[in-house]
Symmetry: C2
Subunit: 137 residues, 2 copies
DNA sequence: AAGCACTTTAGAATCGTTCTAATATATTGA
DNA sequence: TCAATATATTAGAACGATTCTAAAGTGCTT
């Protein structure tokens, strides 16, 4: 059972046709052990240089937006010029290195007791994200 | 001692000349009891409709960027099309209502034990921000 | 009041992202 | 297998927030 086959299923199961472009993007995003943080431009460069595949910028945006809506990736809440995405969709948080623009994961278990004392009546909590900004000493 | 006088001092103390434009912007941002969350466009509208003052968009951006660098306001880490600023520069966090795009403060004391177990050698922590995304039920 | 530094301004430029509508590809059903 | 239909891709235009440019205006010092 090839990886391609898996991605094929992964796409079909959420109603997306497994096109060459989407399979290539899956390969970059999901064929790896570690969490992957990326911008659209990062992804575009990897597709070009590592996979030698040319996908139009519109398709890259379309695909990434689909994947986000389907829950395969998530957008990181962070104010930078570019939007960062994360292939790790589990509950976790980030260090953001302002010197290098690098993102590093940390897990719920790395924070003590993230319990809110305040609640908002009539609202439901969608997510809780912690962002720790750091700089090189 | 007028408010204008105070803003005059506030500006001079960080090396900014108290121009009409900057004083008008100070009035909108700082002449209020509550925390103020705003986008550039919010500010522009208030200047126009409430103060009946016309300030070029370039000046609004320049001033807000100066105020940010001087520590009089801060930018909120949040991925939305527009950048949000906050006149509350103390340690605190935000609820972001995705239904209404509204921001609501909550304080350090509203979160239990925000202590990190993980640390990054060779880095210094600049800020810790918690963002709780909510939606209307 | 003159001179200099700083500030404001309109409009152009930039850049990330989305839109458009024409072309191509995948899927379905006969 | 071969249309017919639905979905996807694409180049390039458009958009929108923000920054840049360089010319004109203002505030401050002497």
């Amino acid at each position: 059972m090839s990886i391609i086959r898996n991605f094929d299923k992964k796409l079909r199961s959420v109603g997306l046709r497994p096109t060459r472009q989407r399979l290539d993007i899956c390969e970059v995003l999901f064929d790896r052990k570690e969490t992957f943080h990326f911008t659209i431009d990062d992804l575009r460069k990897i597709l070009k240089t590592k996979l030698h595949t040319k996908i139009s910028i519109a398709t890259i945006y379309n695909t990434i937006n689909s994947f986000k809506h389907k829950g395969y990736i998530k957008e990181i809440s962070l104010n930078s010029e570019k939007t960062y995405f994360d292939t790790n969709v589990t509950n976790h948080h980030h260090f953001y290195n302002e010197t290098t623009n690098e993102l590093i994961d940390f897990h719920d278990s790395d924070v003590e007791q993230l319990k809110l004392r305040k609640n908002l009546p009539g609202k439901k909590i969608k997510s809780i994200e912690v962002l720790v900004k750091v700089a090189n000493k």
